[in-house]
């Protein structure tokens, strides 16, 4: 590298991406733990997820600060500019995913000691798919792989289908026995949170497409 200022900027951009990936892994972990708490009725894990959401929020502000510093001091253009804007947007998406994980943990606390309405099968499957989407979306960022990013967006349909299935199943429970309404509603909320996590993973992938191509696109529009 000829230009040491440029080399320094490249290091800052790399560090920014590393921080974002670190935040992504914190969010993934939060989702897993939240689901664990929900599924196994382990309230201490659920409380831990709620407490740890602060760390995710702080990470997001730290990333945002660094983006602002780099914009102010480096006046980035072209791909540098797109990279910083991409990190900024993805950090917001991750932070919201963290909030959904916190939401799952809160649902678990509200369920308290009562057992789940039914054995959780589809909801963990949804969570598995959503976290896999997030993992692949972040992978597409590292590789700057547009095809992989598009693939992530396409996977959102599978999560949506599972959500619809869970929704109808829970409606049936509620229709058959109104006493299950409260417990069914908890699960409906949980499924909804996970469905939103998948939507946010799609947004991450859309940002990767923007980073590489410069084109902004909505790839999961009209599926609500």
């Amino acid at each position: 590298m000829r230009n040491s200022t440029r080399a320094g900027f490249d290091r800052d951009l790399q560090a920014l991406q590393d921080d974002l990936l670190m935040m992504g892994s914190m969010v993934q972990k939060a989702i897993f733990k939240a689901l664990d708490g929900l599924k196994n009725r382990d309230l201490s894990i659920s409380r831990q997820v709620i407490a740890e959401d602060d760390l995710i929020d702080r990470k997001r502000f730290m990333i945002e600060d660094r983006c602002i510093d780099l914009i102010a001091t480096q006046q980035p253009l072209a791909k540098d500019l797109r990279a910083i804007i991409t990190v900024l947007h993805i950090s917001v998406e991750l932070e919201r995913m963290g909030d959904y994980a916190e939401g799952l943990a809160k649902i678990s606390l509200r369920m308290g000691e009562q057992p789940p309405l039914k054995p959780l099968i589809d909801i963990p499957r949804m969570a598995e798919k959503a976290t896999e989407m997030l993992r692949r979306a972040l992978d597409s960022l590292v590789r700057q792989d547009v095809a992989l990013a598009r693939d992530v967006c396409a996977s959102d349909d599978e999560v949506d289908e599972l959500y619809t299935q869970v929704y109808h199943e829970l409606l049936l429970y509620m229709a058959q026995d109104p006493k299950t309404i409260e417990r069914a509603t908890f699960l409906l909320w949980a499924a909804h949170d996970i469905e939103r996590i998948a939507d946010r993973a799609t947004n991450v992938a859309e940002r990767v497409i923007y980073l590489v191509t410069g084109k902004l696109s909505e790839l999961n529009a009209g599926r609500y």
Binding site: N3, R6, L77, A78, K79, L81, R82, T213, G214, K215
Partner: protein
Amino acid sequence: MAQPQATGQQQTERTNGAQPVNGMQFGIDVKPGMIDVVPDEEARLIVRNVHAYYGEAHAVKDITFAMRSRKVTAIIGPSGCGKSTLLRCMNRMHEEQRAARVEGQIILDGENIYDRSVDPVLVRRRIGMVFQKPNPFPTMSIADNVLAGYKLNRVRAGKGDLAERCEVALRRAALWDEVKDQLNRPGTDLSGGQQQRLCIARSLAVDPEILLMDEPCSALDPLATARIEDLVKELSQEITVVIVTHNMQQAARVSDMTAFMLLGRMIEYGPTTDMFTTPRDERTEAYITGRFG
């Protein structure tokens, strides 16, 4: 490619039947994408297959592009890429240097400014130029500096006309309020930024249709630079401006179109917002992100 019918019609209006500017109609090899960036009806100054030399040195190589009417076009590129040379070709200043020559065509209103029949002095009246370093005539007052080019063009005018022309030019250059009470003081008494605006006023006094600016802010502080940039935007409401700059942010701020040059060639040309967010050519990307140059 622009529509041939529209081209013909626009040209007839603009040039009284002079040759159309569309490359295909010239039957010459025009780089696809460069000339088509600007629709024919918006093209004010057209550079076509221009080469410039300093003796054996080939400084500008086969450049073809068009500048949009009443817009600001920025030319960027690393030192020595030929951008200032290209700018000087646009008003026949390049040929004034020893062993310098130009090939190709530069078309203003359908007429090639390099035609034998064209008087270079008249070209320079229509296409004014402002240089990197403010260069007011040291022995002249502010007013005389403004009117120097006008008088040189031997335009007959009464004293009242001259005073009015001086005021109008200074107002257009956003300098009138600062100097109206000291028009007889030497132009060199002014600050650097004011001197540059004085030079702009001098260029404007002859009513150019196009203003070429060669790094006009490189010797100025940020405040004086901001004033010149505001002025450039304002002037582009009336005239076509072409600005060579090393300052990427300046190009991004003031221009509507940006051209990137490298090693004498034009690598990419397009709307400024596209050039600075999603350049198509990786060499443009590398340059504007500071990876070379």
